[in-house]
């Protein structure tokens, strides 16, 4: 890997941001001028924009809203479209971006989730899918019962990559079958009723590669597999595995290189067997 030559980096560069003041509002482009600093990533670009709160034309604006936490690509919060590519803003390095596209950087919110404001999106649907596939080990309780089951290093090495999924949503953004579901609260509707209606809408939509992979993670766990049937039922219900069009975009954009398509293939075989078994057990 060649480090970018310093002289090719300009002192200032442009950042175009697709902003939106709130859900249902019209989005608009805004241009900011950013001073280059060493070791800059898109987060430090956004920090500078927030501190300045002024567009390229010198117009005072409210700071751009964005979501982040760990800043080392392990929490999944800061996912957005950087120069059209779904990725984490923290690991998007400015010098590399300017090398690829010298006329500036373009930032947009993810398109498959409802925009809350600017680059902040609402990803509740993603966590809802983890509930649907029961992505947990149903232990009896939290009292001492000795160690977990003995496992081979090979099994650990299969599970560990799947367990690194940080629920960032990149695989969903890239998936042609995953389409945006935005539910708005009705006049006079209680918060609880709204949440219930929203959850039902999410459950009808495609669960996505991340949740399929999590179902596989728990179905290969020695204790988790005791509830394998329930997870396979979830995978074959409305919005399940059958929606997958095998575009394989998910695996290409996963920042953690999780073998998502391998999980999907495994889930395909397992659900087929599960359905046959259920048919003959009737």
């Amino acid at each position: 890997m060649i480090s970018p030559a310093k002289q090719s980096i300009p002192d200032v560069f442009d950042v175009r941001i697709l902003r939106q003041d709130g859900p249902g509002e019209k989005s608009y482009w805004e241009r900011h001028r950013v001073t280059h600093q060493p070791d800059m990533n898109v987060i430090s670009v956004l920090q500078q924009i927030a501190a300045r709160a002024e567009t390229e034309e010198g117009k005072k604006v409210s700071p751009v809203a964005w979501d982040c936490n760990c800043l080392e690509e392990v929490c999944g919060a800061c996912t957005m479209l950087v120069n059209g590519r779904t990725r984490q803003a923290c690991s998007a390095l400015v010098d590399n971006l300017l090398q690829e596209q010298p006329d500036g950087i373009e930032l947009r919110p993810m398109s498959k989730f409802p925009v809350v404001r600017d680059l902040v999106v609402q990803r509740d649907r993603l966590f809802r899918a983890l509930k649907k596939v029961k992505a947990w080990v149903s232990v009896d309780g939290y009292f001492d019962r000795g160690p977990g089951p003995q496992q081979s290093p090979a099994d650990q090495q299969t599970a560990y990559p799947l367990s690194q999924c940080m629920s960032c949503g990149c695989c969903l953004e890239a998936c042609p079958q995953y389409t945006k579901i935005e539910v708005t609260r009705r006049e006079g509707e209680s918060e609880a009723d709204f949440k219930k209606r929203e959850a039902a809408a999410f459950d009808r939509g495609f669960i996505g590669a991340h949740a399929i992979s999590q179902a596989i993670l728990f179905n290969i766990h020695p204790t988790g597999k005791m509830n394998a049937g329930e997870r396979l039922d979830a995978l074959t219900s409305e919005g399940g595995l059958q929606i997958c069009g095998n575009a394989q975009n998910c695996v290409a954009v996963c920042p953690k290189s999780i073998p998502l398509t391998t999980s999907i293939a495994r889930a395909g075989r397992a659900t087929t067997l599960h359905s046959l078994k259920k048919f003959f057990d009737r």
Binding site: N69, C75, A77, V116, K131, W136, D144, P147, Y160, S167
Partner: protein, 674 residues
């Protein structure tokens, strides 16, 4: 059935461990967090989690030795019974996490693998790749999601804790939170509030901590009367990668595998590091510590790197302090095999391959040992009375603190791979105590208290919020003030501390606090207003910043992470045996005197003017008597010899005393704070 429920604030390892235990007991939990809990800062922990295990046990290890390493590493500044109990629970905690599905690395036979970490002789550390914290957090997140699906847990993610609600008797009856999306301010009645909100690294501007670690929740409790312990103890890790937004950790194992730390002898030598000949490189750790070289203890490495850059002007870059951590002389196969994970982080964030080019690193603020003062119930055997509502209780009745935001477990310095343990442990043990607290009342807070209590609290914060939004501008910029605060704190109160710098920093912090009251908001709306949330968090950084500085200023000694060059105890240089002996006697006298004077926890109370008032609390050292920490000190052998003789003489004297006196040596309650 009373309508009782518990509020847990913070969804990292500690908060989630507590939440899942409450849910198991059938106690409904409201879980409030700045971020979706799966994105909490615990995910950043890499190394592993400590416990004695079947293998180390057969090599002579025991829970007692884990306990001893922890208090020795912490320079004896922690009450021993809770630490003792934690070491006893550690093997069971790892078993539990294993059952919950954490993919711990395995031996060829299928057992959990362990590696060795700093401050111990045993391979005590269970690990899951290089992302152990992430894996542990996910296991707890999954369990909490399971209870959420069953209706026992209600999550309030993207909510900010604004403050506890105290009734007329000063009892905590709930808290006020603010929704970060629609900015709604709401009172949450609760029969107990558990703070699990982590460290406060953001006070230092950039640190290895996540953006949520701003200390605001703890500060808000502090400003409501909760005591804060050992504020001045902040761990600085020697090797982190400086970034414009964050300092990213670079594990100690890089040096363990042969990495060398150096700077060019010529200040800010403009040449490519690879073109600087060996003779013109200053391997300062190797030159100054010929025996230990690059593997000197963490605090020493941190201090030396800091000195070279700040006081000796030898930083690699002029505008930004850093030194080279060089791996380029090592075979690529070794690097890929043993350090692959951390090298990828460097490559990803620096855009440079550390196999070819030396890494640029600098120490970074990493962990806050100090935190909210928390109580415990001691048994006569020096263990914890599990089930006592005193465990993890702050001095405000009904308000509890667990995880990094309490001051209990790590004293003056934390050992690697002990933080994940203390977080899960304190989370698991707070629940049975609170269960008993709830049983002692037949009512729930929500139907026990007049609605005026909730309305008044909500109203107060709403007014403050509105006033901040409508404040006519004074022109100050909160983001720039935060940068100045970070620079001030980093300069005065990290690795090397001088009283004159600490005093100057206090003045500066007071000035910044005053300027913050004149901040203009660039966003005055009421929808996802990150500007106002940040400004509130900034305001609340000052009371804690002043607590750190005042504590450090007052403590005229060196202990753990707190280092004052004016108060060091140099080693023994003499060569004549009789002279060495005499000096060692003097050294031990001075140590005993210093222990008497300073083996005390700092306890701060926040005044109405937001200025901390300091008191000191005796430490329960009834299980392991304090001894000198001699690692790396010149003449350590002779000091140790003299000290052991004194201990032997002392124990002869105490054994003639009546039984039981030793166990009652120290009391623990805020009332004994002198």
């Amino acid at each position: 059935m009373p309508k009782q429920r518990v509020m847990v604030v913070g969804g990292g390892l500690a908060g989630l461990a507590a939440t899942m235990r409450f849910a198991e007991m059938g106690i409904p939990v409201d879980l409030m967090s700045l971020t979706p809990v799966k994105r909490s800062h615990s995910v950043c922990a890499q190394g592993g989690i400590n416990s004695v295990n079947d293998q180390t046990r057969q090599l002579g290890d025991s829970e007692w030795k884990h306990f001893d390493d922890t208090v020795y590493g912490g320079d004896f500044l922690q009450h021993q019974p809770p630490v003792h109990e934690m070491a006893l629970w550690a093997p069971r905690i790892i078993d539990l996490m294993d059952r919950l599905g954490v993919p711990f690395n395995r031996t060829p036979e299928g057992y959990r693998d362990q590696r060795r970490f700093g401050g111990t002789l045993y391979k005590r550390t269970a690990f899951s790749g290089a992302t152990t914290g992430q894996q542990l957090l996910y296991a707890l997140d999954e369990q909490v999601r399971r209870w959420e699906a069953e209706g026992l847990v209600t999550k309030y993610e993207f909510w900010d804790f604004l403050g506890p609600i105290l009734d007329d008797n000063g009892i905590c009856r709930g808290c006020v939170g603010q929704n970060l999306t629609d900015m709604e301010i709401r009172s949450f009645p609760a029969d107990a509030v558990v703070l699990a909100t982590g460290g406060c690294g953001l006070i230092y501007g950039r640190s290895t901590m996540s953006m949520a670690c701003n200390g605001s929740a703890v500060s808000r409790a502090f400003q409501h009367g909760a005591l804060y312990g050992n504020g001045e103890f902040v761990q600085v890790h020697p090797t982190a990668v400086p970034g414009a937004d964050k300092l990213r950790l670079m594990s100690e194992s890089a040096r363990g595998e042969g990495g060398r730390v150096w700077v060019p002898r010529k200040p800010q030598d403009p040449r490519d590091p690879r073109e600087i000949p060996e003779a013109e490189r200053y391997f300062f750790l190797e030159e100054r510590y010929p025996a230990y070289g690059n593997l000197v203890p963490r605090d020493i490495a941190t201090r030396e790197i800091f000195n070279v850059c700040i006081y000796e002007g030898l930083s690699v870059e002029k505008e930004r302090p850093c030194v080279y951590l060089d791996l380029t002389h090592l075979p690529r196969t070794t690097l890929d095999l043993k350090l692959g994970g951390i090298l990828e982080i460097y490559e990803k964030f620096q855009g440079v391959d550390p196999r070819d080019v030396p890494m640029k690193i600098f120490p970074a603020v990493h962990y806050t040992m100090g935190g909210l003062w928390a109580d415990y119930e001691r048994t006569s055997e020096g263990r914890l009375d599990i089930g006592s509502p005193k465990n993890q209780a702050t001095n405000i009745p009904g308000l509890f603190a667990i995880g990094e935001c309490d001051y209990q477990y790590h004293g003056a310095n934390r050992l690697g791979a002990n933080s994940l343990l203390s977080c899960i442990f304190s989370g698991l043990i707070v629940a049975p105590g609170i269960e008993n607290l709830l049983k002692s009342s037949s009512h729930g807070a929500s139907d026990d208290q007049p609605s005026s209590l909730w309305n008044a609290a909500q109203e107060k914060y709403q007014q403050e919020h509105d006033a901040l939004l409508n404040r006519s501008g004074g022109g100050e910029n909160p983001y720039l003030i935060h940068q100045e605060l970070g620079e001030t704190m980093t300069k005065a109160a990290t690795v090397v501390r001088h009283n004159r710098d600490l005093s100057a920093a206090l003045e500066k912090v007071r000035e910044l606090q005053e300027r913050t009251s004149r901040c203009s908001l660039s966003d005055t709306g009421n929808w996802t207003n990150q500007n106002v949330v940040f400004t509130k968090a900034l305001q609340d950084m000052f009371p804690l910043a002043k607590t750190i500085l005042e504590g450090a200023l007052a403590r005229d000694e060196c202990r753990g992470a707190h280092f004052k060059p004016d108060f060091t105890m140099p080693g023994i240089e003499a060569e004549d045996p009789a002279e060495r002996r005499r000096e060692a006697e003097k050294w031990c006298d001075r140590f005993a005197e210093n222990t008497k004077k300073w083996l005390k926890s700092t306890v701060a109370e926040c005044g109405t003017d937001s200025e901390p008032k300091l008191r000191y609390e005796d430490v329960d050292t009834s299980l392991i008597p304090p001894r000198p920490r001699l690692y790396g000190l010149v003449g350590a052998e002779v000091i140790e010899e003299v000290w052991k003789e004194r201990v032997a003489a002392g124990s002869q004297a105490t054994s003639s005393r009546p039984n039981g006196e030793k166990a009652e040596a120290t009391k623990h309650s805020p009332s004994t704070v002198g």
